[in-house]
């Protein structure tokens, strides 16, 4: 069995479903249910409060952080889990702005996921120190970075189009201008090789329910470059980021290293499921993942363009400038996607006209690619999308 047949066997993929939405919520790892049951019944049920020590719950956020570090080119002890991506973005940006007290500009781009921009807005307003969030087009980021810039805050892979930023070049540009570089890896971690250390990135954040398959609402992660971390005085100074949480001191003292980015009590059961999900990555070479991802995406583009002349590729055609998803535009994209989902080909839709298809190499096969393209061609060609029940308003994905 080749490597990806072996990893595919480690996921529960429902009968009759071709799942191309793992870039939004990854599927259930086969062993996750048993691990959750163990955490619930054997640990919580039997150990009760003793689980914090006896079952290792207290160290979970660091232990899991180390597993993720290996997937994003970071050293052990530089990543910690907790909260949501929104909170982690807030922590990273607030620390970055404190590192550049004389500067007022934050650069981001219109391809960033909205919550990153919203959290930046909220932080800037609360600080009240005249910071400005400048949101430019993705192509204009590099030239927007000048010596007024405190922080450059970007999502590496655009959630709609899959456009991939050049992390090394933009981080280098940020540093050249004296700015701090913050990378959101929501659509990168587990999707393609990331080299935070090699790029010298200052901060990174990400969620774990997409390509890392941690389940709905799985906790987020934050990376801080080791030479920055001891200088950070966290704004979100929660007790589990304290140097000695169980001393119950009056005064907050930041914990050693990355531990200071912890805030409150971690979601132990979700953490356990995530930890189990991450074991699938043991021994996986991210370069092999990338090669497979490109093969899947390129074949999908080729098959769709050959069979569906009415769609327009929204993703970069050059695989080197694309993450692990492919998006097509079509004026009836919403209805077409609903018809596809009804046939068991699950992608999703982003307004106004984008159909997104994620290709997670660990469990998507060439056959899935062919099935999805054929179903799309049939639905468009036959007009099967043109039914009232497919025309409802876009809801949650």
């Amino acid at each position: 069995m080749d490597i990806f047949s072996r990893t595919r066997a480690q996921f529960h993929l429902p009968e009759g479903v071709t799942y191309l939405d793992g870039n939004s919520l990854g599927p259930l790892p086969v062993k996750a249910a048993a691990r959750a049951a163990e955490t619930i019944s054997a640990e919580w049920g039997e150990l009760l409060i003793r689980g914090w020590n006896a079952a290792g719950w207290m160290e979970q956020p660091r232990r899991i952080g180390d597993r993720i570090a290996r997937l994003i080119g970071a050293a052990d002890g530089t990543v910690v889990m907790g909260d949501t991506l929104s909170i982690k973005v807030f922590q990273a940006l607030s620390a970055a702005l404190e590192m550049r007290p004389g500067r007022s500009v934050v650069i981001s781009d219109s391809g960033n996921f909205p919550t990153d921009l919203y959290m930046a807005d909220g932080l800037i307003r609360s600080l009240g120190r005249g910071h400005v969030l400048k949101v430019v087009e993705p192509e204009a980021v590099a030239e927007a970075i000048d010596e007024s810039v405190a922080a450059v805050m970007l999502t590496e892979v655009d959630y709609r189009t899959g456009r991939l930023h050049d992390m090394a070049a933009l981080t280098a540009k940020a540093h050249e201008m004296g700015a701090v570089a913050i990378w959101d890896l929501a659509h990168s971690a587990g999707a393609l090789p990331v080299d935070l250390q090699g790029c010298n990135a200052d901060f990174a954040t990400g969620c774990t329910y997409k390509y890392l398959n941690g389940g709905p609402g799985a906790p987020a992660f934050i990376y801080v470059r080791p030479d920055h971390v001891e200088g950070i005085e966290p704004i979100l100074s929660g007790w589990l980021g304290h140097e000695a949480p169980f001393a119950f001191d009056r005064d907050y003292r930041p914990g050693v290293g990355i531990d200071r980015m912890r805030v409150g009590t971690p979601p132990v059961i979700q953490m356990s499921i995530l930890e189990e999900a991450l074991k699938i990555w043991d021994g996986i070479d991210m370069n092999a993942v990338r090669a497979r991802s490109i093969e899947l995406c390129d074949r999908f583009i080729e098959a769709v363009e050959r069979q569906c002349p009415s769609v327009e590729l929204a993703s970069p055609r050059d695989a080197q400038r694309r993450g692990s998803q492919v998006s097509f535009r079509h004026p009836e994209g919403y209805a077409i996607m609903q018809a596809l989902i009804e046939r068991g080909v699950i992608g999703d839709f982003r307004a106004p006209d984008v159909m997104r298809f994620g290709f997670a190499p660990l469990y998507i096969s060439i056959q899935d690619v062919e099935n999805a393209a054929a179903a799309l061609a049939d639905i468009i060609g036959s007009g099967a999308w043109d039914r009232p029940e497919f025309r409802r308003k876009a809801a949650v994905t």
Copy 2:
């Protein structure tokens, strides 16, 4: 079967364990494991991304909030779940300070849980507007509230001693002086009747892994008085607090009502377990819970003081001034507690010398009270605590 025998049967209580630490982590509800398995296998596993709509994941934080609202004297639609207690405290205090722009003092007390104070410290430092957090003794709170005070931020029940603040009186005093009242209900919700509406409290927060039995790391809640909520511009302006998260607009617009206090993607699996745990409260009268709690605590105090002359009551003797826990001081409290735990009587220890015992009425019996007091008396009387393995340094509880 009386009501509390019926509720006790709904928890898994390990053989040989008398569990008096439900004020730290409540035990496993019998039905929680099956509910988690359903959410994991039938919802995540089969529905995949469709679970957000088809399984009602998106509405969970409000739906569960309504269940909690009924336990704390709040109306439907005024409580929402998410994040951790630390984050919810930050949200409440930041909103309160924006409501009182001309005032600079925050009053809290030395009985507050440290993370509340740490989060206030972090917020105040980030705002940089000269706010001051004054931490007074619990008895001095009322007189400390004057017209310089923006917010009074208190935990109703002291985590170490169980001392109970007079929420109605202190909220009235805060309002009389023009201050905003924020109540942390970590040791109140599910432990005793709370009447947020009757007290006219402005904000409340709490965790759900103590008396609400949501499991380790279960999500927190926040209450906002309905007449305040539409004026709040959240600092932690995450996408799920947006009026239309799936419009992916550039600009943040706060959601309707309490929804704006949502931040990021909620921990769906932990939420499901919590939702199941809260069903145990259906039809439970909080006044009956309070009467039972007082009976349990009073009997424990009586039995311990009769049999253990060397301990000193650290909790208020007057049941009306106490939550649902009893604490005793003893110079060898740490070692005594370890010896107790070894015998299956699980309480916990708080430095320097406090042994805490929680009495959660839903599952603690009179027999548990007698067992615990007898074990404590035997351990102290026999010197069984005086062994090297019981003298290790205090760790996690």
